[in-house]
């Protein structure tokens, strides 16, 4: 039990540390990165680049493992279809990301940096998720 949960906790801690070190919990830096046509701050390109390079190595290793190191089986997404929902949802997410300079991970990590603001953002984010859940359970 503990041997299975500990790597997940460690992953969360490393993830939160990386977000903070990289500047993603600073809305001004995030909006500076998105300000491509203005006073552009390229820092987040280094964050994205560093993360993607390490993960590309992990994806190269993954098929060589019969099973994950601390779990019974891989549970990975397999869809490849491009849908209006995927594109429309991503467009909405980008607007929200641009408006306040926060995405889900940094929003949660920032609960210890700027607790009130982060809590407002995370609560609204969960409400947005709930609204989608409501519409999807209707159909």
């Amino acid at each position: 039990m503990i041997s299975r949960q500990l790597p997940i906790l460690v992953s969360g801690v490393l993830f939160g540390a990386g977000l903070t070190l990289g500047g993603m919990t600073d809305p001004a830096r995030v909006r500076g990165f998105l300000d491509l046509f203005g006073d552009w701050d390229p820092t987040l390109a280094f964050v994205m680049g560093g993360a993607v390079i390490v993960m590309a190595i992990a994806w190269w290793l993954q098929p060589k493992l019969a099973r994950p190191l601390f779990a019974d089986a891989f549970a990975l997404p397999s869809r490849r279809d491009l849908t209006p929902k995927l594109i429309g949802g991503s467009a909405l997410f980008g607007i929200g990301w641009g408006v306040a300079g926060l995405c889900p991970g940094p929003g949660v990590a920032a609960l210890v940096i700027e607790p009130v603001s982060a809590a407002i953002f995370v609560t609204a984010m969960l409400a947005g998720m709930f609204l989608v859940r409501l519409t999807e359970s209707d159909t």
């Binding site: 701050d41 953002f121 609204a124």
Partner: protein, 149 residues
């Protein structure tokens, strides 16, 4: 170290942060066999996703995020970034929450885990939210709408 032409950029801290995020996501993939996608994990923790991820795992990952942030601020010193006003945070949060569920992911799941796997869905999702984020900031700046004090 700074980048010529970009006095405010912190490329080394960015790269270090990115590598940490990559190691975290790699541990999730190779250790737990799963994608480190924060929006999906947040939905799972709060009972809004039917993912097979145990809810205790979802909560542990989410609790790790602020714990990691605390460690970095303890080592590097506190910094006080400015955040948008409550009304703006609510609007942005609703868009981020709804958008990530409809779009099946955010910057972590699509941007880091999916792009590095060359998943067609993630490549399209990431290009889309980057484009709409860039357009949003450009339009807000054109109207002179400052949201960060």
């Amino acid at each position: 170290m700074s980048l010529p032409g970009f006095p405010d950029a912190t490329p080394l801290a960015g790269l270090g942060g990115g590598v940490l995020i990559g190691v975290a996501a790699a541990l999730m993939l190779l250790g737990a066999g799963r994608i480190a996608g924060v929006s999906g994990i947040a939905a799972r923790a709060t009972g809004m996703s039917d993912s097979s991820l145990p809810r205790i795992s979802a909560w542990l990952f989410l609790l790790g995020l602020p714990a990691g942030a605390l460690i970095v601020t303890a080592v590097m010193g506190q910094f006080e970034p400015s955040f948008a006003s409550p009304v703006v945070l609510v609007i942005a949060g609703l868009l981020v929450g709804a958008g990530t569920r409809l779009g099946s992911g955010c910057t972590s799941g699509h941007g880091v885990c999916g792009m590095s796997r060359l998943s067609p869905r993630s490549l399209v999702a990431t290009a889309t939210f980057m484009a709409s984020g860039i357009a949003t900031v450009a339009i807000m700046n054109a109207f002179g709408w400052e949201v960060l004090s």
